[in-house]
Amino acid sequence: MSTTIRIQREDFDPQAEADALTQERNDVGALATFTGFCRHEAGALSALELEHYPGMAEKELQRIAGEARARWPVQGITVLHRFGKIAPGERIVFVAVSGAHRSEAFAACEFIMDFLKTSAPFWKREHKVDGSSGDWVEAKDADDKALERWK
C-alpha cells in the first residue's frame, strides 16, 4: 500500500519504479502506468522548462494520490514529476498504479494524471530552437473538461 511521490530534476527509470510496485507484494494482478514526454512540436522546440512550487507540489501529489485511494482499492501508487529543462523526447511525468484488477488500476492512474494536470503546481515554459524563450504554456480547456468524468 505504498505511495511514492518524487519531484526531481533528473530522469527516472520507469521499469525500476514498476518493479518496485509489483515486487513489493505478491498479489498484484494489474499495473497501469502513464508516462508523459516532451514533444518536439514539429522541431520548433529546443526544450521545456518546468517550474514548480517546492513543498506544495509534493503535498498536492500526495493529496491527489490519497483521493485516488479513497475511490479505488488500489495497492501501490508512484508519481514522479521532473522540473528544470527537459529536451524533446525526454520524460516529464510518470504515474504507476498497481492493484488486484485492471479497472481500478486504470481508473486511479488516469484520475491522478487528470488532477495532476490541473492542480499540481507546475508550469511549463517553451524554449525555441531559434533561441527565443519566454512563452509560458497556456492551460488547456481539455484538461479542465477531463475532470468532469470524475465527478
Binding site: 492542480s119 507546475f122 508550469w123 497556456e138
Partner: protein, 83 residues
Amino acid sequence: MKAVYFAWVRERVGKPDEEISSPASVVTVGDLLDWLKGQGEEYAYAFENAKVIRVALDQMHVKHDTPIAGAREVAFFPPMTGG
C-alpha cells in the same frame, strides 16, 4: 506574511517572493489581490486579470473569497500546466 510568485506572475512582479503587510481592511484573498494591484506598476501588470490568478494559502489551493486570516504564506500563480 510571505508572498511567493510563480511563472509569469513571478516574472511580472519581478521577484520570487517578499514579505508583505496588508492593512486590516484586507480580509479575503480577493481583497489581497486588489490591494496588491495598487502597490505599483509591476503588481498592476501581474494581477491585471485577477480572475485567472490561482492562489494558495500555506500551500493549499483556495478560492478568492477565502479569508487570509492566519496564513503565513500566500502564493500567486497562473493556471497549472504540468504533467
